[in-house]
């Protein structure tokens, strides 16, 4: 079934990074205010809320976050539900919002995500993140999150000749793009040499191959076609959405050089939108690790399997390239507050598509794809978006 009624009419994020002295409720409320009242959308118009948070139980000893967060943000009383799919929590909340609008149940809903990660020790965060992998059969022998993507990297290097330098180039690009993004955690360029600093986290992945630990929140407002006109002349339509799952553990995957959930979710989204990768002007993909961006760029069909690294080397995925990827800086340099990430990706696409990405504006911006990945790739959500006048 095609999507024909879902519009993004506003989108905002807080700064990502170590937000000292700011709790999850406060950052959530800031994102909501920016996406509602500050964008000319009264809070009383919001009829339901779909919230992504990953693991506040372990990070800040707090469950049942949806009513808690919306209460502080002035939306008390609304139906509010939390969606958890590890790093894809935000995008699964977004899909619930899409379904709520398409079904006709609501005209206007809030989709938001948040995570507070820096108030506990790095060890505690590592332990919390490990909960997104298969505890019984993989984490319990000492496999870590970077380890999962390192195993994929080794397979990709062997099969296609991808190198540590190729991966480092993804980090250099991310930092370059984030250097002009005032909301990014790292607003500083890095050299290739620095990206290659041999501080191994999980060989062959090094410190600069990994996204950081971050705090942050993001929010968007979705409305029906009829209602959208009240808020903006330039809504962004969500025209395709796909979601798929895969085994949690890597040993049950037939392919290690491609993520089957990404391939499936992309196929569903493209078919729904009646478009293909050639129709996408740019993409925002889940670069939790540099290798993840390379593989995602192949899985979404931008490049043939094995040619993702070449595309980075040749600058095709640079902001001014033919197929820009993560033009604002990605998870790698903007930060990765887990529950907020999937919503933030939609914020980035919205800003780019309406031409308000400032110094990070891509040259062509009619249609784009977002790819949000959960945990080891056991969940993937792909959405295709197009500006209403395109």
């Amino acid at each position: 079934m095609p999507l024909n009624n879902t519009n993004i009419v506003s989108a905002a994020q807080t700064k990502f990074g170590k937000l000292e002295g700011i709790t999850i409720r406060e950052m959530f409320a800031e994102a909501v205010d920016k996406a509602t009242v500050e964008a000319g959308i009264p809070k009383k118009d919001i009829q339901a809320a779909f919230i992504g948070t990953f693991i506040p139980e372990m990070l800040i000893h707090q469950g049942h976050t949806a009513p808690l967060l919306i209460d502080y943000a002035g939306l008390r009383g609304l139906p509010a539900t939390r969606h958890e799919a590890a790093c894809a929590s935000g995008a699964t909340a977004l899909r619930a919002g899409i379904m709520a609008i398409e079904s006709g149940l609501y005209d206007t809903v809030l989709v938001a995500g948040a995570e507070k990660m820096t108030s506990v020790s790095t060890n505690k965060v590592t332990e919390a993140l490990a909960a997104a992998a298969d505890d019984e059969f993989e984490s319990s022998i000492g496999l870590t999150f970077p380890g999962v993507f390192a195993i994929a990297a080794v397979a990709h290097m062997q099969k296609y000749g991808t190198t540590e330098e190729d991966m480092a180039r993804v980090a250099v690009k991310a930092h370059y793009n984030a250097s002009t993004n005032p909301l990014a955690q790292f607003q500083k360029e890095i050299t290739l040499e620095k990206a290659l600093t041999p501080r191994y986290i999980a060989w062959p992945l090094k410190l600069f191959d990994c996204s950081p630990i971050s705090d942050g929140a993001a929010a968007i407002v979705l409305t029906s076609n009829e209602k959208a006109k009240e808020y903006t002349d330039l809504p962004v339509k969500i025209i395709g959405t796909g979601q798929a799952s895969a085994s949690m553990d890597l040993c049950n995957r037939i392919e290690l050089t491609s993520f089957e959930s990404s391939v499936k979710a992309s196929k569903i989204a493209y078919e729904m939108a009646k478009l293909g990768p050639e129709d996408m002007d740019f993409a925002v993909v889940h670069d939790c690790f540099t290798i993840a961006e390379i593989i995602a760029s192949e899985d979404i069909g931008f490049f043939k399997p094995g040619e993702g690294a070449k595309a980075v080397r040749e600058g095709i995925t640079a902001r001014d390239g033919d197929k820009p990827i993560n033009p604002m800086g990605g998870l790698k340099a903007v930060g990765h507050p887990v529950g907020a990430t999937g919503v933030k990706q939609a914020v980035v696409i919205y800003k780019e598509l309406i031409g308000e990405a400032g110094k990070n504006q891509v040259p062509k911006y009619d249609t784009a794809l977002m790819h949000n990945f959960g945990g080891t790739g056991a969940t993937c959500v792909v959405n295709i978006m197009r500006r209403a006048d395109a």
Partner: protein
């Protein structure tokens, strides 16, 4: 032992490893060997499982060396974690034994491997493989 008590469970699968034995699930209907355990066979859809012995032979599919480890594994780092495809067709995630963790460049994918076990400083056994 009657049928009921011999039904494979995750708990027993893990207990076997602690005893230095590797037993896999086997689909009673099509014979597919399944490890780690699954509640349903992806070859035929059956949920009837029994235990099977495995050869312990396989090949190295991919690997990493964990340098930054969770707290409970910190005194073991750096250590190898690998994906091994068993001759029986199923793949498991396991430790590697007998390879220098500081020379991962020397490890070749596709290498023939055989089953062994590694014991952690705290006395926990991990499923592990060494070059055959």
């Amino acid at each position: 032992m009657n049928d009921k008590s011999n039904k494979p469970t995750i708990e027993k699968y893990k207990q076997f490893i602690q005893e230095g034995k590797f037993r896999a699930f086997k689909c009673s209907d099509c014979g597919a060997v399944i490890a780690p355990p699954l509640g349903s066979c992806y070859s035929c859809g059956s949920s009837k499982m029994e235990w099977t012995e495995i050869s312990g032979k396989g090949r190295l599919v991919s690997f990493t060396v964990i340098h930054v480890a969770p707290e409970e594994f910190q005194d073991e780092a750096p250590y190898y974690i690998a994906i091994i495809e068993l001759d029986e067709g199923t793949r498991v995630t396991a430790r590697l034994s007998g390879f220098d963790p500081l020379k991962p460049e020397d490890v070749k994918l596709g290498t023939s491997m055989e089953l062994t076990f590694i014991e952690s400083p705290k006395g926990r056994k991990y499923l592990a493989f060494k070059a055959a």
